[in-house]
Symmetry: C2
Subunit: 245 residues, 2 copies
């Protein structure tokens, strides 16, 4: 349940190197921006040729987990929405791209004891969390209400982060590498709470996005976002992995 790299350790050397480096990054031991050992160092550490190390590192770079530069060395990449697969989360950029002024207004910010978070039909038992409810505005009018749980076991830094002016979403993206995300997207009718927060009529179609993000086995965050149906739509664009080589 908790084994980090116990998924049958890779048989080949370059795969092992890649897995071990990856594990250190995902465990948080090596954090975004940190410098990684050079190929020469790794070559000595593993007692192999540089090409083998290079293959491992190149493949990590191809997935976007690390960023490599000649002479400057290799650093842990700051997570860039994983190969830009899904464009959903950056509300601010989206609002501003339409020429509107972006606004963010936190409504609630509290620590919550371990409890059962409800997501869709299921209940999930998770640890202590910081809970932030906020509205995001375009030109002063609300377009999104967001309930976010950040689990402090997985993201201890979140306890001291300041979410009064920066929303938790971007903060997380900039600080925490993640490995998996799941989105549930649905059309719902605005209930009383949503209607009031988004200033729409009761029953208005809204877009619900529930997003859950993991790093390995650990749940990092769960967000429940309700968008004004008339004001917003999501676009996701994707293609094959870039493969910078």
């Amino acid at each position: 349940m908790h084994d980090l790299a116990a998924d049958a350790r890779p048989a080949t050397l370059h795969a092992r190197i890649r897995a071990e480096v990856e594990a250190r990054i995902l465990s948080g031991e090596w954090r975004p921006g940190d410098r990684l050992p050079t190929e020469t160092e790794l070559m000595a550490r593993y007692g192999c040729s540089r090409m083998t190390v290079n293959k491992a590192m190149a493949s990590l770079a191809a997935t976007g987990l690390i960023s490599r530069n000649r002479r400057a060395g290799t650093v842990v990449a700051r997570p860039r929405m994983h190969v830009a697969a899904l464009k959903i989360p950056d509300i601010r950029a989206d609002v501003e791209a339409r020429g509107a002024a972006y606004g963010y207004h936190p409504l609630l910010d509290e620590l919550r004891p371990p409890c059962c978070v409800h997501l869709g039909a299921e209940g999930h038992h998770l640890g202590h969390s910081r809970f932030v409810r906020s509205v995001h505005l375009a030109d002063g009018s609300p377009v999104l209400i967001e309930d976010r749980h950040i689990f402090l076991d997985a993201v201890p830094d979140a306890a001291s982060a300041d979410f009064r002016s920066e929303p938790p979403g971007p903060w997380l993206l900039g600080h925490v590498p993640w490995t998996e995300a799941e989105h549930r997207i649905a059309a719902i009718a605005a209930d009383a709470v949503v209607a009031r927060a988004l200033e729409v009529d009761f029953g208005t179609p809204c877009l619900l996005v529930e997003r859950r993000t993991w790093r390995g086995e650990e749940t990092l965050t769960i967000a429940r976002q309700v968008f004004r149906g008339d004001a917003f739509d999501l676009t996701a664009r994707f293609g094959p992995t870039p493969m910078t080589g």
Copy 2:
């Protein structure tokens, strides 16, 4: 506008090999299932070492475009929802996963002359298309109405495909490799047409998914799908590219 590989040909040899092989696959010259030249052949053709060829091919395999097997050789992969990035399209599997009986019922199937297809706010000028309107059912009740255009310049085989029992979506996925897709997702209120087709009240929240798929510069297909909001939601799950090595 139509240049296939004119996007500044890659400087390095393995990147060039990769790009050229990729171009032949995407152009349709090498089709899913076709056998590719062996590493030895490519090595001779490009006058380079096998390792260089191997790097190019391994990277194509990592993105899922080709499939490689020892002794058996390398073949063009049949498109598998590109590294399983997005799980949206397979309605049938989704319906059946809930234990419901899946049903498909085409309403309209016609050839359309080049015209202006409206997608979102924009109009797109595209060539001859086959247009199929259909409803998809779960246990006999409609959950999705789909309008699909397939552009025959890009997918000539679609002219003769039989969509009376198989929906165009799965057919396309199984036959045509694609490189890019864009989804627009929105919450809308059911209009008269949708309300009647989906057997819901006028104004009921529905999920709209507009999907456009490309191969290189060419648009392959545009689909407009409206889901019953109460019956369906979409889930998209993704993580880093598998990287089989």
